[in-house]
């Protein structure tokens, strides 16, 4: 895996940014089938939606400490719904696979592109179309959706808000997700470089593989469920309406049959990023490679059978509840295996605490809190107490934002030099991380306390005894937002003013660090021949 340089051009000039294609200007990007360009467009879109989602989140926190001053009750319902829809469907579910997966999957397995480059471009278009439809539902006549991001029936069938349009948007996004999964699975099966055996694949690739199957299998269930919602609203078909022979509980089942595996669509690639970062920054081979691989596959498969834990209080037989609770405990085991392996990788390592590692370590800490509180809400008796409270809100923000969000930022800092060929300021990145990390815990840990005390979620005006911790939580949201502003200003200024990055600034051992930063148009001059496992080979330059 030696670094290969281009013969007569500098790495900058031969990068994919300078490739001349059929189109120019914006179309050179929109019509491109280059996985790197598609990945970057996804990244731009994701981060734009993320910033909108965060702004809405800060608005929710503001409204909660002064109900009525900024938003009225209906607007509050709309804002938390749109916050959820944007962060879940437009940012975190597509998130890591479409941005980093697109950019790095082919490079990491030694390929020139994904298996179906044009299908890849179609997924981007579908994503943009889906996002546009969701956005349209906010602004056209009628009200923005006010059902919560879960679109629970029967309210989603009855409300006058623009639920049909939002649901259609999510449906289109679902197809984008299915095609991405199909493309990645095929790419990993078919496009590996000579010698890149299954157990020589970088762990990020393995998690994309497991995620791909979940996308292919689970997303159709969401699609059909959303079709039923639209049929109910437009044609009055009563799948979920008891007065017409339907059943609202059925909606909850169908929805969570997709939406719980979707948690693993988000989390598995996040775990993949951490598995890349830990060996690089501790200068060690990953501890327990195969255990991490099999735990990813175990999470992806067992994750299909735990959806009932979202519905412990909805009306299920005790047998079903006990079984779902038990399987929920089972799915915690492979996650525990991973955490153990990451920590063990650090042991006796030559650790360099650069910003990607800081974010990765924060991931382990926050994801562990999210996971362990998941066991609390996954057991039947405590679930009755905390169901529908801020405890749940805190729990899933620790998993999704503390887990996937931090991992996304870890990946962004880790691969930034490779993607853009520029270095950012380490110092500013760490300052940003500090505010973000502290703000995050102040914001969401208070919610655990509020939830334990019984504060119900989704209330516009919480009872006065919860005011104190609500204020603490809101102050946390300001710190968090400040951290994000520092982090992204640092990255944006690095895009324009950052010093040029070498091909391997961190000393990573996987294939992407063996090619110039930013990578050339088709990644490799010659397809590399792989003769060893993925980690522990890189030299910092």
């Amino acid at each position: 895996m030696n670094e290969r340089t281009m013969d007569n051009k500098s790495p900058e000039e031969s990068s994919f940014y300078h490739e001349k294609g059929k189109y120019s200007g914006v179309l050179a990007w929109l019509m491109s089938t280059d996985h790197k360009r598609i990945g970057l467009m996804y990244l731009g879109a994701l981060l734009s939606f993320f910033s909108v989602g965060v702004t809405l989140g800060v608005l929710i926190r503001l409204s909660l400490i002064a109900p009525g001053a900024i938003l009225n009750a209906q607007q509050y319902n709309e804002v938390f719904t749109v916050h959820g829809i944007i962060q879940i469907f437009l940012f975190i579910i597509p998130g890591i696979p479409v941005a980093f997966g697109n950019f790095f999957l082919p490079i990491m397995i030694g390929a020139r592109d994904v298996a179906f480059p044009r299908l890849n471009r179609l997924t981007l278009w579908l994503y943009l179309a889906g996002a546009a439809i969701v956005m349209l539902s906010l602004f056209i006549k009628g009200a923005p959706p006010d059902t919560g991001w879960t679109f629970y029936a029967p309210y989603s069938i009855q409300t006058k808000a623009n639920v049909s349009l939002a649901v259609l948007g999510v449906f289109v996004l679902g197809f984008s997700s299915i095609f991405t999964g199909l493309n990645f699975v095929t790419t990993i099966h078919r496009m590996r470089a000579p010698g890149m055996e299954w157990f020589r694949l970088p762990l990020f690739v393995w998690t994309l593989y497991a995620t791909g199957w979940v996308q292919i299998l689970a997303t159709p269930v969401l699609a059909i469920t959303l079709v039923f919602i639209v049929l109910g609203r437009v044609f009055g078909v009563g799948f979920f309406d008891p007065s017409k022979g339907g059943d609202p509980i059925l909606y909850e089942h169908l929805f969570w049959v997709y939406s719980h595996p979707a948690v693993y669509i988000m989390v598995l690639p996040a775990m993949g990023i951490i598995s890349e970062i830990m060996p690089t920054f501790s200068r060690r081979n990953i501890f327990g490679y195969k255990a991490i691989v099999f735990s990813a596959l175990a999470i992806a498969s067992v994750g299909y059978f735990v959806w009932g834990h979202h519905m412990f209080t909805s009306g299920m037989s005790d047998t079903a509840r006990i079984v779902f609770s038990f399987i929920t405990f089972l799915v915690a085991v492979p996650s525990g295996v991973k955490v153990f392996n990451w920590v063990a990788t650090l042991y006796k390592g030559s650790i360099e605490v650069d910003s990607p590692l800081l974010f990765a370590l924060s991931f382990i800490f926050l994801f562990s809190i999210g996971g362990l509180t998941g066991l609390i809400v996954g057991s039947l008796a405590p679930n009755l107490h905390v169901h529908g409270t801020y405890f749940i809100v805190a729990h899933f923000h620790y998993v999704m934002f503390g887990g996937v969000g931090f991992s996304f930022l870890a990946g962004l800092h880790y691969w930034f030099p490779k993607m853009f060929g520029r270095m950012f300021s380490e110092k500013v990145a760490k300052i940003g991380w500090f505010f973000f990390f502290i703000g995050f815990n102040v914001l969401y840990f208070s919610m655990f306390i509020l939830g334990y005390q019984g504060m119900p979620r989704r209330y516009f005006e919480p009872p006065p005894q919860y005011h104190g911790w609500s204020v603490v939580s809101t102050v946390g949201s300001w710190l968090l937002a400040l951290g994000l502003i520092i982090i992204f200003s640092n990255l944006i200024s690095a895009l324009f003013k950052g010093p040029k990055a070498s091909s391997n600034p961190w000393g990573g051992g996987t294939l992407e660090w063996s090619i110039p930063s930013p990578p050339p148009a088709e990644n490799f001059i010659e397809i590399p021949v792989v003769d060893s496992g993925p980690y522990g080979h890189g030299k910092r330059e």
């Binding site: 020139r112 590996r192 059943d247």
Partner: protein
């Protein structure tokens, strides 16, 4: 069989008879004293003769396996917390609105719920009455309780009726909350029952506050089975095609990486 509890708005205090099951409050009206029922021992009793104290009247059907047992159970465990003593200051009457129920079943149920109170309970303080269709219609009409026969039982509202010693309806207590998964899903607050019995003893009539009331009903939609079959078929087809895709990827040769 699936039972679903579904809150719905209670009917207000007007004379409109609802099309379906529900409550039309008759507060202030007097129960006709001459309605005949059988008590749990099989003896014939006249309603006017047994209503001599403040009375909590509940209307259920004895073969119900949904919310009716929960209501009576919740009521039974609330009784020890009351200020008044049963049999002396107040009594309970449970009337079955299913004409097929007989005194033998009533006897069993009574033993069950009296035991559930966990206190020494005078024999006559809780009566379980059954009767013919005509008597049932008279009492349910008198208290404005409308029910409907269904495939697997009855659809009916869940409510307690408070009667004064002279048989005047002094108030209704709607059951509007069902806590899933706990030992007693339906609970009654002793403070509320105390106040309502106190009103009944003094014959103070209180108008019902419009409050969501729970209905007891069975729910097994006819189309559900076909729908599930559809889901099973599409699910299996999806799984098979995904499995075939996997086998295809594994069996055919790898394309060159370029």
């Amino acid at each position: 069989m699936m039972s679903v509890l579904f809150p719905s708005a209670a009917f207000g205090h007007d004379e409109k008879v609802p099309a379906g099951p529900g409550i039309v409050e008759k507060t202030g009206a007097t129960i006709p004293p001459n309605i005949l029922f059988h008590d749990e021992n099989g003896a014939t009793v006249k309603l006017g003769d047994i209503i001599t104290k403040p009375t909590i009247l509940s209307l259920v059907y004895l073969t119900c396996d949904h919310i009716c047992p929960q209501v009576l159970g919740g009521l039974a465990v609330a009784l020890p917390g009351l200020k008044m003593s049963p049999g002396k200051d107040y009594q309970l009457i449970t009337i079955s609105f299913d004409a097929h129920d007989d005194p033998a079943t009533a006897f069993q149920k009574k033993a069950n719920y009296v035991k559930a109170t966990g206190m020494s309970f005078p024999k006559d303080a809780w009566k379980f009455l059954t009767g013919d269709r005509e008597s049932i219609e008279r009492i349910t009409d008198a208290v404005g309780f409308h029910f409907q026969r269904d495939l697997h039982g009855f659809i009916h509202p869940v409510v307690l009726v408070f009667l004064s010693p002279r048989g005047v309806i002094t108030g209704y207590h709607y059951v509007s909350r069902y806590q899933y998964g706990v030992e007693y899903p339906v609970t009654f607050s002793a403070a509320e029952l105390n106040a309502e019995l106190d009103d009944a003893s003094r014959e103070v009539v209180t108008l019902g506050v419009t409050k969501p009331v729970l209905y007891c009903f069975t729910h097994q939609p006819v189309g559900q089975e076909r729908f599930f079959n559809l889901l099973v078929v599409t699910g299996i087809v999806t799984l098979l095609s995904v499995a075939a895709f996997f086998v295809y990827l594994r069996m055919t040769s790898r394309r060159s990486g370029s």
